[in-house]
């Protein structure tokens, strides 16, 4: 039986400050899919993720997430932003940050519940940083920060996970672990989208790949990454539609 669609995009054009970064995007992602987004910097990977999360309103086209407008499904969705967008100098401990993942489930004025505490403990265990729970976040390495953000994402126990370069600053062994963990979540019915630069990792783990360059230039199983024509389209500077597509993605 075919799984219901979790994400549906039709004719989406989006960008920043009037500039177009992605155009003519049609995409359907079904429950339990494990999808990689690849492409050069500025190709629109982050832009596409932000449109799905509801952080960025597209100029045109329709976006449905859990059959609702984006942003309405926040309780079912967790997004892992690029790590440099977070204030790592704050006086917080690792567990405080992971606990933030539970805030979408709680009402203002309420402290953390037992369920919140145990979700945090489980998430810390899954990314193997239980021993860092009480560590101040300004004392973490790049790879540890990435695990903390991932743990926060997992603590939300979301139906849909959107991760923007979760493997940045992480050693290859850890990256391998992260990707199998995400694949495992997908095989348990979670839907997972990951923007990444690691093509070898994509080939090893992901059943579906979206190649991006100002839009989706190819969509298929990992074997499309062995296709020279597709790789040229994705990375070769054949940017469809002219110079406005070369616009840098906003990371601020």
């Amino acid at each position: 039986m075919e799984q219901p669609p979790v994400i549906e995009l039709h004719g989406v054009r989006a960008g920043y400050d009037g500039r177009t970064v992605i155009d003519r995007v049609d995409l359907t992602v079904r429950r339990g899919e494990f999808v990689a987004l690849v492409g050069a910097n500025g190709a629109g990977k982050s832009t596409l993720l932000k449109v799905i999360v509801g952080l960025l309103r597209p100029y045109e086209g329709s976006v449905r997430v859990f059959d609702s407008p984006p942003g309405n499904g926040a309780r079912h969705l967790a997004y892992l932003p690029q790590a440099e967008q977070v204030h790592w100098d704050y006086p917080l401990r690792v567990e405080d940050v992971v606990l933030m993942g539970r805030l979408a489930h709680s009402t203002p004025g309420r402290g953390p519940t037992t369920a919140d505490r145990s979700a945090v403990a489980t998430a810390l265990g899954r990314v193997q940083i239980v021993d860092l729970a009480r560590r101040p976040i300004d004392a973490l390495s790049g790879g540890q920060r990435q695990r903390v953000l991932l743990a926060r994402t997992l603590a939300a126990d979301p139906e849909l996970l959107l991760l923007d370069e979760p493997a940045t600053g992480v050693d290859p062994a850890t990256e391998e672990q992260l990707m199998s963990l995400l694949g495992d979540l997908a095989s348990h019915g979670r839907t997972v989208l990951v923007a990444t630069h690691d093509l070898a990792g994509v080939m090893a783990h992901f059943p579906r790949v979206l190649c991006m360059n100002g839009g989706i230039v190819a969509d298929g199983d990992a074997s499309i990454l062995r296709d020279d024509a597709i790789l040229r389209h994705t990375y070769g500077g054949h940017r469809p539609g002219g110079p406005e597509h070369i616009a840098d993605e906003h990371h601020a």
Binding site: L55, P91, S106, P108
Partner: protein, 276 residues
Amino acid sequence: MPDPFEPLQYAFVQRALLAAVLVALVCASVGVFVVLRGLAFLGDAIAHAAFPGVVIAFLLKVNIVLGGSVAAVLSALAIGAVARRSGLKEDTAIGVVFSGMFALGIVLFSSIRTFTGDLLGILFGDVLGVATDQLVVGSVTAAIVLAALWIIWRQLVFVSFDPIGAAAAGLNTLRYDTLLLGLIGLAIAVSVQIVGVVLVVAMLVTPAATARLVARDLRTLVVVALALAVGSSVAGIWLSYYVNAASGGTIVLVATTLFGVVWTVRSVARSRAAAA
């Protein structure tokens, strides 16, 4: 050796102490966010912008804390709106709004003659002149600010720490930012009577900044900031009674001295740790 409890026999000193402790609690807890988010200039600006509200309240013969609150909160929201809508940087928006409001206060003020004695009080604080009705309004305002902070604390921390992540998790970041600006405005309005327009920012920033030097987690930051603020206020009033100096200035000087001491001790400790 003078009797340390001598000042306490006067009702005006009791009222002053109570008011100063209230202000310390409110300012230090709001100040945690002012320091974490780098809003010191905004705080200073809002304090100056409260001035015309105080003058208008005086003219209309209503409570001046109320007048100050309205002007402070309105200008805090105006700064947020100008920065968002004009495309100008926030510090530019702050500069425009606060100097305009302060100028309005000066023009209004200069048109009335009977005000002279109270001007110094508004600009530099007059904690020993706190009247009972001001204390009541101040306490209610302080209670509102503390209760609001208590309720939205975790959300405010998330929104400050990681605005994008918070928005993705479904938090309305604009609403929380606006609430924070409003709370800063209210905190300033209750404090103007104690330390005055010019020094209010010190109550907001200095205790939390000192705490930030030593705290590795948020709970410690808040507890240390509150303790330093209350300690500076009580010690400042007590000292000012004996040296017969302006109490607002004395409170701020005590807080500043504590910052200097903590910073020095920390620097020495760090260089020793580095040498070892």
